[in-house]
Amino acid sequence: MEISTIDEKNIVNEIYDSCHFDFRNYLMFRRRIEKAVRLLSIKDMNHLIKKIKNENDFSDRFLMEIFYDNIELFRDYDFWIYLREKWFRQLYNKENKIKIWYPDISSGEELYSMIILLEEIGLMGETEILATSISLQMLLKIKSGSVPMKKMNHYIANYTKINGKGKLSDYFIYYHDMACLDPLLLKNVKFIRQSLEDNTVQNVNLAMFRNRMLNYTLPLQNKILDIIYRGMLPGGSLIIGVKENITNYYRKEIFIPENHEEKIFKKIE
């Protein structure tokens, strides 16, 4: 169903009032609402607004459906190969634990790709992973480790492209219509419910922020990059999507390009 500009405005205002989350600076937000409305089979805008207002569970679920990104496992296999062969192996001294942060996480698969990669290069014990989101249901969904079974063949093909060490199916428990990442692999990931504005994460070596900036208008991008910058250690790396850039970031000189192809930037030391 097509959402009118007025509907969009009403929904944004209601979410702001009820959930204290400001979507006024999100790009193409109307498309995201349309997606959530489809997934939740909502047919009436007034009804939707009432539910957001009155039902906490519903509004949290609605937020999750708006923002959950169906990203494939090992999307951009060149990037994952580079991360494994160069970034982890050569660019890192392993004295301290490597702290990896997923600010405003919106994809399970991006996290699971990292976990599988770390497991295969024997660095799981040397890393600390934090995933933050304002949506509890988002965190629960990602923590469950579940991926749709119908995508597994596609994921296996991607895993083959990165020359994975074993078999992808070894990392998952197969159910009827979904597969779940082995819970043991998720045990050491800290899932923290908080907004970026209230961020408490600090001393991060690697901020994984691929294809997240696609959601934000430029003023909001600036604000969020500031927050991520403050959470990082000097010399730490920020990774964004392969077709994103920080050219419009008002303080772009604080992030030095580390790898142009894979959009890896280093926080100035």
Binding site: L27, M28, R31, K35, D69, N70, I71, R75, D76, Y77, D78, K161, N211, M213, L214, L218, G241, V242, K243, E244, N245, T247, N248
Partner: protein, 187 residues
């Protein structure tokens, strides 16, 4: 009068696009937005292949790329390309439409919203229906619709689907499409 051209194609469209880019003059005034179905994980090589004899610069835009006249913007692999405004290209990673990402429908629909009757939409050879819905949106917003003649197209599924779905202003073969676009430059 017209301010932008969006072109969608799949299997069999590559040669048409190459010919077009090689014959359009370097002084071509309008931005061209190309959505060609492509190998998903192949991030480089396509732009280079299109650029070989092209007189027009071909770019794969980043998200938030500024739109400049006389440039051909090729939708990057595994992203949808949208027109955000007359100044900006946006990318996103929504689900593929009919297994296609980039999707022609998504490009055409967003372009129709921004450019309205100042838009020309062209559908070329291809093996699926992507673009039929988008071309309809262009027509409904007052834009001009062109389809490669199914008899001229290497694979006629995509042109036929578009013809079935909406009013087409011109059904042209490759030569006629290029001639039409070249004429635009002199207006």
């Amino acid at each position: 009068m017209y301010e932008a051209i969006v072109i969608g194609g799949s299997a069999g469209s590559f040669n048409v696009i190459i010919k077009m880019l090689n014959e359009l003059p370097a002084s071509f005034r309008l931005p061209l937005f190309l959505c060609l179905h492509r190998l998903k994980n192949v991030r480089s090589g396509f732009v280079e292949a299109l650029s070989i004899k092209s007189k027009i610069m071909v770019i794969e835009p980043d998200h938030n790329e500024k739109i400049r006249s006389g440039i051909a913007y090729l939708a990057p692999s595994n992203y949808h390309m949208l027109i955000g405004s007359k100044e900006l290209i946006l990318l996103n990673i929504e689900d593929p439409i009919n297994h296609s990402r980039p999707s022609i429908d998504i490009l055409f629909e967003s372009a129709a919203e921004v450019y309205k009757d100042k838009l020309i939409g062209i559908i070329l050879s291809g093996a699926n229906n992507d673009g039929a819905y988008g071309l309809k949106k262009i027509h409904l917003s007052g834009g001009l619709t062109i389809v490669q003649d199914p008899k001229d197209a290497q694979i006629n599924t995509m042109p036929d689907a578009a013809i079935q779905n909406t009013t087409i202003n011109h059904i042209y073969d490759t030569e006629q499409i290029i001639h039409f676009l070249t004429q635009l430059n002199t207006v």
